[in-house]
Symmetry: C2
Subunit: 228 residues, 2 copies
């Protein structure tokens, strides 16, 4: 048993062990959160007659905080899945997966132009999670824009590796150099759920061996490049 | 920006980003837990006169669950530190670090034999955490044993890499082959805190490039080998 022994397999093993532990942590954390919620429900039901307004307010605040903890635990679990859930790689169609997510987001004012098929090797669940998180992270304010456009294309350059381009326009943020995913945080409100979205995108890229960066294409197009 | 660009530095960057996120998660999780504890305190104080015994019991249970959540959050944070807190490597003395931990555990019935100095390259905080978790994880029931012995030695074999040996005796568990850290779980009660201890040990080994396995040395000695 040395470090040199079967590198990949021992790294897969440690990934699997981390995943099992992360599921256990999520499970064991959710249990007391759920129990607190139930106990407060029981308390309110059993003492409905004797609780004054002030008491109701305090118990309502406890319920809010409990819901908040539950949402955070679920969000952290999705993030740790992105880090350590075993991948089931297969051929997938990036264009079709993006279409599905755009439809579910009901971007009705967005003109979506795409190629029919862009083949990638990916875990389908992670591909879906990646696209969802990416669309949530890009400062692409569809509600305000009546003529927003999202153009998906694929490019094979000389360096041989295919890369996917996603052009969002118009784009209100301004930057000169290439922008990394993590740098998007500065354009967001900074709440934990947004940070988790960005980190999930990064982790999924890392595990699939994709490199992602953003650049401006002209004044009002934000181009996301995903090098496969 | 390709995968090939500056491997180590981008992996260090992503480690740092993970560490910052994990601190943020711990911080944002502790806030509502603390608020629930405070709200219940306020509730009990303000309604002290009107709360019957049943009400007191329910609120006491909510307080227990809140404490449990707080302990879990702190334990998970120590685990995620082990995974992603940046290392500050320096020369450290394994023998001295082990002595300190044994003293703090007050293993009064244990005869501890050691060499004066065993030099390792390690982050001192992680070395301490590693030794604490290891001592908690080994099924070495000091309380019941009046003549337990812990022997620390260092061995330079032909393959040139030094390795540390820790002999625990007597040892009640029985196994024939080499035992990995993760396999120790089967000899433990399986609660989350024990699992976290084992995983922290493994992660700290992994990050320092140490390989750890256990074997029996004769009938009643459990030997822990740490290949540096």
């Amino acid at each position: 048993m040395t470090n040199e022994d079967g590198g990949v397999s021992s790294s897969e093993q440690s990934m699997k062990a981390r995943y099992e532990l992360s599921r256990r942590i999520a499970h064991d954390t959710m249990a007391p959160i759920r129990q607190i919620a139930q106990l407060i429900e029981i308390f309110k039901a059993e003492h409905a007659d004797s609780l004054d307004e002030d008491a109701q307010v305090i118990l309502g605040m406890v319920q809010d905080k409990t819901r908040q903890l539950s949402e955070m635990t679920q969000a952290v679990r999705a993030y740790s899945d992105a880090m350590c859930k075993p991948l089931a790689l297969q051929e997938a169609n990036f264009a079709a997966a993006l279409s599905t997510e755009i439809e579910s987001l009901q971007f009705e004012t967005v003109l979506f132009k795409r190629e029919n098929s862009i083949s990638v090797t990916a875990d389908p669940q992670f591909l879906r999670q990646f696209i969802q998180r990416l669309l949530r992270s890009i400062p692409f304010d569809v509600a305000k824009e009546q003529s927003a456009e999202l153009v998906l294309s694929v490019c094979h350059d000389e360096a041989s590796a295919a890369h996917i381009r996603l052009d969002f326009s118009p784009c209100s943020i301004d930057f000169s150099e290439k922008l990394q995913l993590s740098e998007l945080a500065q354009y967001k409100s900074g709440d934990l759920f947004e940070l988790l979205c960005l980190h999930e995108c990064s982790e999924i890229c890392l595990r699939h061996g994709w490199a992602l960066y953003m650049e401006k294409n002209g004044d009002d197009v934000l181009r996301v490049n995903i090098c496969l």
